[in-house]
Amino acid sequence: MNRTFLIQAMLCLSFTFGMVVPVFAGDPQDQLRETTDKVLSVLSDPDLKSPSKAKERRERIQKIVDERFDWEEMAHRSLARHWTQRTPEEKREFVPLFKALLERVYADKVEGYSWNKILYEGETIDGDYAAIKVKIFTAKDQTLHVEYRTLKKGNHWLVYDFSVEGVGLVNNYRTQFNEIIHKSSYQELVKRLKTKSAQN
């Protein structure tokens, strides 16, 4: 009697897991949550809190974020119509420069605001596109509304844009890049990006 129950329970379990896991693995919000949880655990790690460990902490955060953020997609979208006018070499040069800048932007935000708690407010899936709304409570009693935009590539929902209080990252850089290219040139934009990454 006991044994049949056990077998039934195991069957049930394996059935449930078999069913549930693939569904949840494909869920954009859960994938994002996994990344954010990892970032938060690095931020709250007492061993990494001292100023001497600041560089190591940043590198760890960047590594986690790299897996979830699609820098090329972001770079492409930020250059918008200027992207197609670039040669493959120019694109290869641009993406890492852009990535270096954006990694720092992201790390500045998570470290500066010291995220306390994150509330996931739901996702909107639209084919390969998904928007995930998040509410972040910071240590200083602030509430930030953040929205992540992701695009499905294989089994991964990769972030290609995010906005804080309505201010979209890609849109903001797109306008800056567009202005610089219009007023001077693409070469000037690359020069400025290089100066920025040298400040690191």
């Binding site: 500066g112 639209d126 935009r149 309505g166 306008t175 567009n178």
Partner: protein, 271 residues
């Protein structure tokens, strides 16, 4: 003795208020986000159904790539000058003051001061909620005023938020005008006041009429001193954000302008 001290004090106060107001309107939440407790609305539950009439995410993205959503800026040359003025005011006056103040006053007290001033301006938010037919928001603001003025020790604490989770409705007259369909027209970078638009400048003037402080404080120097103190206090909690913002942008003026525009749209939408 007193008079000569007063004479000396006035220009200094003027300078302080100038600098103090410089970043009165947070340009970008990327940058500043202290007043980011903007109206929170729970997401519509049947998300997929509710969105079906709107353009899809993909269409939205494609449209933005074709035609970036930006704000008109016919005054750009003048705006850029004032942007630089405000930038200098921050680094030369506001930041040193706020840093000194921060070193002396504990953070909890500084947060309390923010709550206190915010509680005083409740009528502005309440009336703007009503003007946008947002009765729930107006009700929340009323409860917050009653609760925080009493149990919250004259507004220094925010038990409405911490205990009851009733958050501030960050409404102003510029948002009310936006809600009724008035666009921002064009961007204005005011010296001292910072980022604004033609619509939001009218909104700012309207809010002054609704602000109890306008009527409570009759003396101009006292008003200036209070406003300056308020700004120094707020800045003390945000030191470093503007610096980060400048480091993270290639053209800080454009970045500030666009962030202002997007943030205002977001606030108007999230009534």
């Amino acid at each position: 003795m007193r008079i000569s001290f007063g004479r000396l004090l006035l220009p200094v106060l003027c300078l302080l208020i100038l600098s103090g107001l410089a970043f009165g309107e947070p340009a970008a939440p990327i940058v500043y986000s202290l007043d980011s407790s903007a109206c929170y609305q729970p997401p519509d539950l049947p998300i997929l159904v509710a969105q079906s009439s709107k353009p899809s995410l993909k269409e939205e993205e494609l449209a933005l790539e074709e035609q970036p959503d930006t704000i008109a800026d016919p005054l750009e040359p003048v705006n850029r000058i004032f942007f630089n003025v405000n930038d200098k005011l921050y680094f030369w006056a506001l930041k040193p003051l706020a840093s000194g103040y921060k070193a002396v006053v504990p953070e909890d007290l500084r947060l309390g001061v923010i709550n206190f001033f915010s509680n005083l301006t409740t009528p502005v938010r309440l009336l703007n909620c009503l003007l946008q037919a947002n009765f729930k928001g107006a009700g929340n603001e009323t409860i917050r005023l009653l609760l925080n003025s009493t149990l919250g020790l004259a507004g220094f604490l925010d038990p409405a938020k911490t205990e009851l989770r009733i958050e501030k409705r960050d409404e102003d007259f510029g948002q009310t005008l936006g809600f009724w369909g008035i666009g921002p027209a064009f961007y204005i970078e005011w010296p001292i006041l910072g980022a604004s638009s033609l619509r939001d400048t009218f909104g700012y003037a309207g809010d002054l009429l609704l602000n109890p402080k306008t009527y409570l404080i009759r003396s101009v120097p006292v008003g200036l001193a209070i406003r300056t103190y308020e700004q120094v206090n707020e800045t003390s909690l945000r030191i470093g954000e503007y610096e980060d913002f400048k480091r993270d942008t290639l053209d800080p003026y454009i970045a500030k302008r666009e962030a202002y525009h997007q943030n205002r749209k977001h606030k108007i939408k999230n009534r």
